[in-house]
């Protein structure tokens, strides 16, 4: 049974890998194919499942609620991805230049990342409260809106015409900036200082250094952040669940929240699975993009 013992080694390898491989197989790969299988069934958990072929998919493609949740998710992604990248980069740059006390500032930007999405959503629901919330009080105080005729978006989570989506975006971005900032910071610190020194000698301005050194050398990090940001935007679910429960009038009902509601409130397991297969393929598109273009560049310059 020593290290050099062949049979002992085989036994050891099997025993070391078996639990991980087995659990991953069941809860990832098998679950994925099971999901695909269930998507061909009509099943409410109680009765016997009935094979209905592609009908769930047809129903999905003709359902206004599905298209609505797709639209909500895409709108969320289109706003949150560029904003999270831009603000994250800004935080990364600030953290880099704050060489004294950097760990303190990094910590302060990271606090919202550590608290849970449920807590973050609840705090913001209180801040957004149209009548008693601190946010509207500040907006009035700064004279940004007229107290006598407040614009509809100041109803925040009760306004289906943009206010609820803005609220959802604010929570998501607030919670995400520190995370992206930390990733950008490590990307920035990996750019060799010699480049900047050489540019200084050549008399390059701050902007030129940023444009011709920082941005190109940071592009692998930016690409990586972009992909994980897109994927996380496509999965957004807990914040709308807690903040608005998808409302008002489904204005914040994202794809994953839609799946959750169809499966666990309406018990349409087959239909929910069909939507889940769609979301999986949608996300896979970006994962594949990353593995094609990102692989080598992400880890090394």
């Amino acid at each position: 049974m020593s290290v050099s013992d062949k049979r002992g080694k085989t036994f050891f390898l099997i025993l070391s890998l078996a639990p991980t491989v087995l659990i991953m197989f069941v809860f990832s790969y098998f679950a994925l194919f099971y999901c695909l299988g269930v998507s061909f069934l009509k099943w409410n958990m109680l009765g016997t499942p009935r094979w209905i072929g592609l009908r769930n998919y047809l129903q999905m493609l003709t359902s206004p609620e599905f298209w609505n949740s797709l639209k909500v998710t895409v709108v969320y992604a289109l706003w949150s991805v560029p904003l999270c990248i831009f603000l994250g980069l800004l935080v990364g740059l600030i953290l880099k230049s704050a060489s004294i006390g950097r760990s303190f500032f990094r910590l302060m930007f990271f606090l919202p990342v550590v608290i849970s999405m449920v807590v973050a959503s609840l705090i913001w629901r209180w801040i957004f409260d149209p009548a008693q919330g601190i946010l509207n009080y500040v907006i009035y105080g700064l004279g940004l809106a007229d107290r006598a005729a407040p614009p509809h978006w100041m109803q925040w989570i009760r306004d289906p015409g943009g206010g609820s989506m803005a609220a959802l975006l604010i929570v998501g971005i607030w919670k995400r900036i520190g995370y992206n900032g930390v990733i950008f910071l490590s990307g920035l610190l990996n750019i060799p200082n010699e480049y900047y020194e050489a540019a200084t000698v050549e008399g390059a301005s701050k902007f030129m250094k940023f444009r011709y050194i920082t941005l190109p050398l940071l592009s692998p990090t930016t690409f990586f952040v972009m992909i994980i940001q897109i994927i996380s935007a496509l999965k957004v679910s807990v914040s709308p669940l807690v903040l608005t429960n998808g409302g008002p009038v489904r204005s914040t009902e994202t794809l994953v929240l839609y799946i959750y509601k169809e499966a666990f409130e309406n018990f349409r397991m087959g239909y929910a699975s069909a939507v889940a297969v769609f979301v999986f393929l949608f996300i896979l598109l970006f994962t594949v993009l990353q593995s094609i273009f990102g692989e080598k560049k992400v880890h090394y310059q």
């Binding site: 639990p19 991980t20 659990i23 930390v182 610190l189 990586f224």
Partner: protein, 284 residues
Amino acid sequence: MKMTNMTVRRAAKSRQPLSILGYGLLFAFVIIYNVPIFWMILTGFKDSTEVYKYPPTLLPSVFSFKNFIQAWNATPWPRYLANTLFVATAIPLLKIMLSAFAGYALTFKFRGSKFIFLAILGTMMIPEETTLVAKYLVVSKLGWVNTYWALIVPGMVGAFSVFMFRQFFLTMPKELVDAAAVDGCSHFRYMLTVGLPLSKSTALTVGLLSFIDEWNSTLWPLIVINNEKMRMVQIALKAFSDDRGTTWNQLMAGCCFVTLPVLVLFLFVQKKFIEGVATSGIKG
């Protein structure tokens, strides 16, 4: 680790500190950025008349714990906190053990080792959110609904932690294993007495990331637990908020209970934690 040291040294060379004004602005900004968290705590201190005062008071007129005590007694928080602590501790410990052994095993070349490694990494391409329904169906077939099994078992494996342990064991000098072989030491004993203790740093990173992840986990416990006694804190908080409506001081007190443990832990280990996130970049 080597990478981080190098970057730190490089950064030290390029030290161009901000001006005093710059630091002042930055400090003001990070305070404003965290206002929601302060607001949660301050609101928790207010009583039910003050919380609805308009214009709102910034600081509570008296810092009294009365509201916290009321909120604490309104729901069996100790039970929920204990549940969550149990699950959020069990998962990291099991994950460290399983991932360390799997990662170590994958440093060897054998038939199928590459395939197994890729298959493990491949699970990262399957987001939890898309397999929720199927996972729930599997768990209910196993009869695990409303049990700790459902909460713990799917969470105790992780592709990225296997990857991190494999990376670590690959950097370990081969002489260590050879020396163990001469002593007639089995791989099991080798791992338990040499491998695992040496991988302390990796284990700590994996453990911390996983603890905070599990403490904050919401969707999965929401689905597999419907027995009140088995609730995890995040779900308890959601239920508490459905229950309390807009009693904001009570709700914010509840948020404090749920956040405090993880916040305190984070303040102690922030460096390790943030560096873990920066190197992994796959969390969230």
